[in-house]
Each structure stands twice: as structure tokens, then as C-alpha cells.
Symmetry: C2
């Protein structure tokens, strides 16, 4: 340490080291990790070589498969937990994806689950023995929550000597435990959470494990990276502008942004808590849709509406799932009984070639299946982007400034939030709420109007659109989040579906000079076929508010069809 | 007109006269109405004498009964509409309860319904031919909305030359028409809507028809007065602090304050629109619970969540109603299978003798039925009152000031809102939203904790409390709305149940000197057994958020039991 280094740098370094120190010696990566120029993708052979056959068998099983083994006594919670702790430890050493490690507590919890199973011959709940990773916004007993802020180290959300420090648990954590889940690590986030990449002064930069030249996305970036490396079978992130969907998309995972009020946010740390024009929501990320359904249904089984004032009394609706399955079944003989819309771009920023190809794959899949496909011509998304931006910045950056000031650290580069701006007044916020509602109403009416075009007697069943103009992005080159945040303005149910990967041999740069705007030109110029090669490419499928059951079911169907012809 | 009279007084007078002018000559009250000292209650014989036998038969039938006749072709929509138009016209002349009269348009609409029935031999919808009254916040084609503001006369919500003026309809209006309802009048409100009485410069003061010394309550006061006079079988008010429940209680009616998002507010006029810490909600008022259910279910049958961005996808839940009916049935042999709590007062303001007796009647009814009864000891309601007050005043009165300024009129006395105060900032509003959520969470946890006390294995099924410390109140003596507004802070499902009427022979004034506070002392001193004699006395029954099906079903059961032994 030099004496000119600010105190916060030392504190960040010490915290960074303390995370690494929690990795047992036997799980340390001994050799230097090869640079990305030699090995872009560390999700396959490279991480596997450090695991034994049993650990590989366990960690390469999806969450639904793990549950089948743990709830029938074939695998113990302890062996499953230890396998994922090992793989998560490796993952962190490869891409910096963990903020908190509590493997010992996890193994103790797993032992209790095994003891319960031995005694009662039945599982504790629907997630018995399943390790579940959590974005570092959730409070877990005995574990710190920093959310990437140096000033939160050793505090409760920045408050010193708060009795909740190390003692309090978020409602979701309580419910996951009641379901039998094992909690073992918390994953990295960008400071402020308002970023499409994951960087902070504590763990520094979280890399994309499928292409380590690139970002894992954000703000639930650690979740995306860890699950892509199979260091976690499934986990929970949060999304106020795309923060579940961007990392799901960038890491080739499925991710759900449910409507507000389905998964309980009660007792989680947050940025700008109390801003209620656009609410952050919690959503699961996983490798498959059945895994997303497993987590989503498990949480709903705990009746969060009795424990979170903002949760809505909407249990998992089997009837909506069954109706959707019936439509899919019917469409096998009558393909036009399902109708989708496609939004190729948002008339503001065009897509990089790999993402445009991803959308084209969806269009071709829908055409091959024979479903009705219409073009999506909604009310201007620029209005939604403007509303969302005004909501995010309504306090002029006061909340995040306060948390930066605790340590004196500076914002990291990907943070999209300006500070030191004027606060909006009650009248201005009311006007913003009205503008939001009016835009939502226009969108709703447009959605209803598609009943005239589909031929099904219903409006479209779902809409496909890109999650960003680019695939997993070159660091500090993230485009604005207009492709995801309009769905936060709408509060619509959205699922990210992995489609393909960037391929430098086919995804050649655009050489024309037809641009919507300067930002469009800038984003397009940042496409580099060589660097992006191998980056996951995904799409969003969205439906109306509270249509999670339908959207998950359609996403599973279409996702499987895309793979069939890949 | 004198030349010293401000312009707004003349405009208000002209509007007042124009309403009266819309009453056909044959329906004018010819003799001067006796003063309240001679005739307090005009709901029975006095109004009946002006109606013929057929009109009496129709207007003294409840909404469910009317629908039975109109959907089976026994009564035409036209004859039902004309009967209610006549009775509403009389009602207005007795207590000043109407802001808008559009009887001619109503009869034209009724003719169309009759033609449809003749042709198709079936009703248009679940409210076929039912006249429904609306608080003057709902826009109806061809009709003005003033909300009591002189400055809104001849405008659309204060905006001149707005194309929506006279052309636009609120979403609820569209849905009621789709159900076959006939719209024929809009009812009086206090300017700003923030008052527990109904007064404005246009129609002046709306009196309580059951005791014309007293207020009809507010802000849906015109609804309460009109329905009590059977000038309407049922109608819709709105409630941000008690505005459905206070007039229901003051007029001896049932009223429902549903949780936010069940009945569509889209396209209705409002005060402080866009304030979204505590949302105003729409609820029905009627003489019976089956009538409330009829209206509530009819609106839900229109799937408002596809037309209002703030509506929640919660259809009428038959299963919840059936579960509740099964509990009631079970309780006939096992009385303690139902458990209620009683909150006798809020530890801030004690009850006037008639209201205390109303609560006692409920307690005795529950004991007679043998149900489990516990005392309600919730988190301090003073916190909820403080949160609600801060929410209502967050813009410092800017919105209502702007609307007063349009004409230059002064606020009427019952308005509880101060103007000219500083606006809250985004950070202050965020802190308020957090305080609200934390209080809601404490209340929710307290509710859950009662599972230990009930013996049913569940928390309490419902809680009874007073709707105000006083019955229908002496003008300008309304107490603060703490007894109702805590339920807006909680967003809980609440039904008002009429219980009894004030009786000077038993409800003798309190003569002790034990008071919670100065305000308690002041409110208690305002009880006058002579003046209050005959005023309706009611209770609130509340349940958790979105428990409308359960609360309506329990209210019907308990309401009927109260009557049995009255």
C-alpha cells in the first residue's frame, strides 16, 4: 500500500481479498488462467478439468433434474451443495462473479436438509437441496450485502451499528429456505445497479465466460456469468431497466422479468428505494424454462402476498399454463391458431449483425411452424425511454451520491445515472406518472387492436424483439437500454430466449450509411466481428402484464423449436 | 345580479339553475319542502307521495330485483329508467345531490336496450336496463364534468377547447354501457374531493336525506344521498381517504372500497392525478350486498385489465366466495370456525355514543353467533394517518389551487387540504413510500400473528371498526378521517355495513373527562343527542388486500344477522 492511495481503495482491496480467502485452498486455480486471446470461452472444457466426475454429473444437471435426485434421496443436499460451491469458486476465479461466499453455512444448511429427509422421508419443499445463487441485493444471515459499494462494507446498507447487520434476511431468502433451497453465494453487481455491465471497485470487472473479451451484462451480471459457468443451477436477479434480461441474453440463458408484485422484493437492498414510478422487479435466471418455472412456482407456493405489501395475490395459474399448452397443441394441426408479432428494431438504434440474425432465426422458426406473424408497429418507444429515464433520475442522483460519499469512491464507468441534478417535485412526478399511464394505455390499445390482424380472434399471443442492439458487449460500449426498459415502463411479462452465437464468418459488419441517428451510427460502428465471435445472441418474448404463465410456456415451446433446427 | 358579485358566483348560479332547468315541469316539487325541524327524514313517505304506484314498485326494488325483471322482459328499460329519473329529480330538489342530469339521453339509451331485447330475446349484459348513478368524476358523452369546480364549467377538466369536452367517456362508463347499464345522472361532490362532507359553490350543500340537519358525508356524498332516497338503485363513488365509506355509512347503505386495481379508474377526472403513493379507488354503493356484488362482478366481467394499465388481472373469484360461504355454513354447527377482531377505537378519537353502540351491536351479534372474537391491537394508526396526510399534501396544494384559480373561487369549508405549502421532493416522496411500505408490512405481520389467537388455524377472517367517530355529522363538524384513511394506506378490502340509527333516548352524551387528546375532547363535545337523532350508524368490516369476494360475503352474512335481532 502506498500512502497516496485513498482509503476506499484499500477497503475495496481488502474486501476483494477476503472473498478470495473464503475459497478453500483445494479449490484454488493453481495455474494462471489463459488470456482471452488464447481461450475466450471458459464454460466448457476449461472449468470442467478441475472437477471430478461426480461433481461434473451434478453441476451439469439442470435444476429440475437436481430436484428429481434430491427429493427422491438419490443425491444428498450436501454433495450437491459441495459440488456447486466448488464450481462457483472456480467460476469466480475465472470471471470475478461473486460478492459473497458462505460455503460453510451452506453445507451446514444442507446437512439439516439431509437430516430432515432421513427422518421424514420427504423433502422440505419444492427446492429441497437445490443451491440457488442470489444477486448481492438480498440479505442473508451472517453475510454482508455491499451491492458493490465500498461504503457498505461492514454496515447494513451503509448504516453503521444497525442491528440488522448480519442478522436480517430478505423475504425472498426466507421463502427460498422454506422451499428447501440452499444459499451459498451472492453474485456481483455494478455499483448503483444502473448499468448494463457489471463493474465495481470491490471485485472490479465481471467478464463474460462465453467470451472473456466481453461483458457479462448487468446489473445481474454475476448471476449471468455464474449460471453460464454452471457454478449455479439457477438464481435470482432484479430488473428495473433490463437487469435480469441483459445478463440472461449476454450469457445465453433464459431469464424472466415478471410483472411487479409477483416475486417479493420486501427486505431486499436497492438503489433509489421508494421510487415507485417504475419498480424494480425480481426474476429468475437459469439454463432452461422448466428451471425458471421451478423457481417461480416455488416462490409463489409461499404466498408472498401475505408477507410483502407490494406482492399481488396471484398464485401460479395452472389454467393459464394449460390454456397455453392447449393452444400450442392445437397449433400442431392448425398452425395459425397461434399469432406472434416481430419488432425488428425500435426505430432508434439498429441491430448489430448477430442480433439481427437472431431475430431472423425466430422469424424463420415461426414461418416454418406456420404460425401467424405480424409486424409490430407500437406507439413510439422513444416516449417510453424518456419516461423511464425521468423515473430513474427523479432524485437527481441523490440516493447514489449518498452511498458513494460514504467511502469517497467515484462511480465506475458503466453507471448510466448522472448525479448532482435537481430533484423533481411532487407535481413533476405526478405529471410523469400520468405520462407513463397514458403511454401504457396507448400500448394496451395497440395490443388490443392486433385482434383485427391475427385471425385468431385474439390479439397477438406474444411479441419477439431484441434485448439490445448488440450481443454481449465490448466493455464500456453498452448501448442505452431502450430495448429492455420499455418493458419496465409497461410492466409486461418478458422472457429472454437464447437463440445462437455471434459468428464472424456470417455476421459481417454493416457498411452502408443509412442510420437513424448519431447514436445508431456510433453503436453500429462499435461492432467488431472478430471480438464478438462466439458471443451469445438472444431474443425477448413479451406478453401483457401478469402473463408469466403464458410467456414461460410459449418461451419453452419456441426455444425448443429454435434448437431443433440450429 | 349585482355588479359587486364576483364572476364565479354568477357562473355557479347559472350552472345550478341549468341543472334544475333539466328537471321536467311535471317532476317539480310544487310545495315548499318542510324544514328539517318539521321533517328530518325525507326518504320514506315524503318522497313517495310524489310517485305513482308503478314508479314506487320499480324504485323500491333493489338492483338485483330490477335486473331479474329487465333481463326477463317483465319490465322495460324505459319504464325503469323513467321511474328512477323521476325519483332522482325529486331527490335533488330535496337535498341537492345532482351535478348533472341527462334523462333524455338515458331514455334514448333505454329504448335501444329494449329494442335489443325485443330482437334478440336476451339482455345486452349483466346490468341490462339498470339505472346506475355516477359520482361527478366520470366523463359521459354529451355531459359536463365539473367535480364541483366553477372553473371547470364549459371545459374538459379545466381545459378550454379540449376536443374531449362532451365527447370522451371514462373506461368505467364504457364498461357499464357494455353491461347494459343506463346512465342518467351524475352526483355531487365537494370541490377537491378531499372532504368528508359534500359542498361546493355550484350546488352548495348536499344534505343527509335521513336527517336533514346533517351531512350526507363525502366525497361521494351525492351518491350516498341519492341512493338513500332510492333515486338510484346503485352507483359508483371513489375513495382515497374514506370517500365511498363515509357517505355509505352516513346514509345507511352498504359500500365497498376495493383494493386498488380492481375497478378501472382509467379516464376518470380526479384531484392530484398522478399522485401514486395512495391511490384513489372506485367502489360501488347500494342498499344491499347482493347489489354491490352485482355491480362489482359486472365490471370485472368486462376484463378491465385489458383496458386500464393500472387494473390487475383478477376476475371475480368464485372459489374465494364459495370458500367463504362454506366457512359460514360450517360455522352454523361449529361457531368458532369463524374468527373476527374488533377495534373499538383508534386510541386517538373516541366514538360518539351512537357509533359506540353500533360497534357493541356487532360484538353482541358475533357473541350470539358464537364466533371467536378477539381485540384488535394493531401498529399505531397515528402513523398511517400521518403517512396518508403527507401523501395527500405532497404537492403542497398545487393541483387544487390551479383549479380554484380558474374561476377565482375560494375553497369551501369542509375541504381538508391546505394550499400554498412547499412541494415534496423526489427523495422526500421516496422516503414516504418506504414509510408506507414499512407500516403496511408491520400491519401485515400483525394480521398474520393473529393465527395464534383465533383457534381456526388462520388469522382473523375480518376486522370490525367504526367508519368515523360520529354518525352522519353536523355540517362543518367532520372529524379527521383517521378511521377510514388507514385502510387506504393499507389498500385493504373494506365493506361498510349499516347497523342502526342514532337514538336520543339511549345515546346519551358522555359526561366524563377522560380524553385521549384535545381533538378527542372537541369531537366528543360536538355530539348533540337531539340533532343526531335518527342518523344512520354503520361499521366497517375489513380484510386484507384483494379480499373483496370474502369481505362482501362476510358482510352479507353479518349484515343479515344484525337485522334479524334489531
Amino acid at each position: 500500500m502506498t500512502i497516496t492511495k485513498p482509503h476506499w481503495k484499500a477497503a475495496a482491496e481488502a474486501k476483494r481479498q477476503s472473498i478470495l480467502d473464503l475459497i478453500p485452498g483445494k479449490w484454488r486455480v493453481k495455474e494462471p488462467v489463459p488470456p482471452p486471446s488464447e481461450l475466450r470461452d471458459v464454460t466448457a472444457g476449461y472449468i470442467q478439468q478441475s472437477l471430478n466426475a461426480r461433481e461434473l454429473e451434478i453441476t451439469e444437471t439442470d435444476a429440475v433434474g437436481i430436484i428429481e435426485h434430491t427429493t427422491s434421496g438419490q443425491w444428498t443436499a450436501v454433495e450437491v451443495t459441495e459440488a456447486f460451491c466448488h464450481r462457483a469458486a472456480l467460476a469466480h476465479q475465472l470471471v470475478n462473479c461473486l460478492h459473497e461466499i458462505f460455503f460453510d453455512a451452506a453445507v451446514e444448511d444442507a446437512k439439516k436438509l439431509d437430516a430432515y429427509f432421513s427422518e421424514h422421508k420427504k423433502p422440505v419443499g419444492p427446492l429441497h437441496g437445490l443451491p440457488v445463487s442470489l444477486k448481492d441485493q438480498f440479505h442473508v444471515k451472517g453475510v454482508e450485502t455491499t451491492m458493490g459499494y465500498v461504503g457498505w462494507i461492514g454496515t447494513f446498507q451503509g448504516k453503521k451499528d444497525d442491528p440488522r447487520q448480519g442478522a436480517f434476511e430478505s423475504e425472498l431468502v426466507r421463502e427460498l429456505r422454506a422451499c428447501g433451497a440452499v444459499l451459498y453465494c451472492k453474485t456481483s453487481v455494478p455499483t448503483t445497479l444502473m448499468a448494463g455491465e457489471t463493474e465495481n471497485h470491490i471485485i472490479e470487472y465481471t467478464w463474460n465466460p462465453k467470451n472473456r473479451f466481453l461483458s457479462c451484462g448487468g446489473s445481474s451480471g454475476g448471476e449471468g456469468a455464474l449460471i453460464a459457468l454452471k457454478g449455479s443451477p439457477a438464481g435470482f436477479g432484479t430488473d428495473i431497466g433490463g437487469s435480469v434480461r441483459i445478463p440472461a441474453a449476454f450469457n445465453g440463458l433464459y431469464g424472466l422479468r415478471p410483472s411487479s408484485g409477483r416475486i417479493p422484493y420486501e427486505g431486499a437492498a436497492n438503489s433509489m428505494d421508494g421510487q415507485n414510478t417504475i419498480l424494480s422487479v425480481i426474476g429468475p435466471l437459469a439454463a432452461t424454462v422448466p428451471d425458471l418455472k421451478l423457481l417461480f412456482k416455488a416462490v409463489l407456493s409461499q404466498q408472498p402476498w401475505y408477507h410483502d405489501p407490494l406482492a399481488v395475490e396471484l398464485p401460479w395459474r395452472d389454467d393459464l399454463e394449460q390454456e397455453t399448452l392447449a393452444l400450442i397443441k392445437e397449433s400442431a394441426s392448425k398452425p395459425e391458431s397461434l399469432a406472434f408479432a416481430i419488432m425488428r428494431d425500435d426505430s432508434t438504434v439498429r441491430l448489430h449483425p448477430p442480433v439481427a440474425r437472431g431475430i431472423e432465426i425466430i422469424v424463420q422458426t415461426l414461418h416454418r411452424l406456420g404460425h401467424k406473424v405480424i409486424e409490430w408497429n407500437p406507439p413510439p418507444h422513444t416516449e417510453a425511454y424518456d419516461i423511464a429515464s425521468r423515473a430513474y433520475s427523479m432524485d437527481g442522483g441523490a440516493d447514489v451520491s449518498e452511498h458513494f460519499a460514504l467511502s469517497g469512491e467515484e462511480p465506475v464507468k458503466p453507471v448510466m445515472l448522472e448525479t448532482g441534478l435537481p430533484q423533481k417535485t411532487a407535481s413533476e412526478i405526478a405529471a410523469l406518472n400520468i405520462a407513463k399511464r397514458e403511454w401504457q394505455k396507448k400500448y394496451m390499445d395497440y395490443w388490443n387492436s392486433t385482434a383485427k390482424l391475427t385471425g385468431t380472434g385474439r390479439p397477438v399471443d406474444g411479441v419477439f424483439c431484441p434485448p439490445a442492439p448488440h450481443a454481449a458487449v465490448i466493455p464500456h460500449k453498452s448501448a442505452p437500454v431502450g430495448y429492455t426498459s420499455f418493458l419496465n415502463t409497461l410492466d409486461y411479462s418478458t422472457v429472454v430466449i437464447p437463440v445462437t452465437r455471434a459468428d464472424k464468418t456470417v455476421d459481417v459488419p454493416y457498411t452502408g450509411d443509412n442510420f437513424y441517428s448519431e447514436i445508431d451510427k456510433k453503436v453500429q460502428a462499435e461492432y467488431d466481428a472478430e471480438i464478438y465471435d462466439g458471443a451469445p445472441v438472444s431474443v425477448q418474448l413479451f406478453g401483457r402484464r401478469f402473463q408469466e404463465e403464458k410467456m414461460l410456456t410459449l418461451a419453452e415451446y419456441i426455444g425448443a423449436e429454435v434448437v431443433k433446427h440450429r
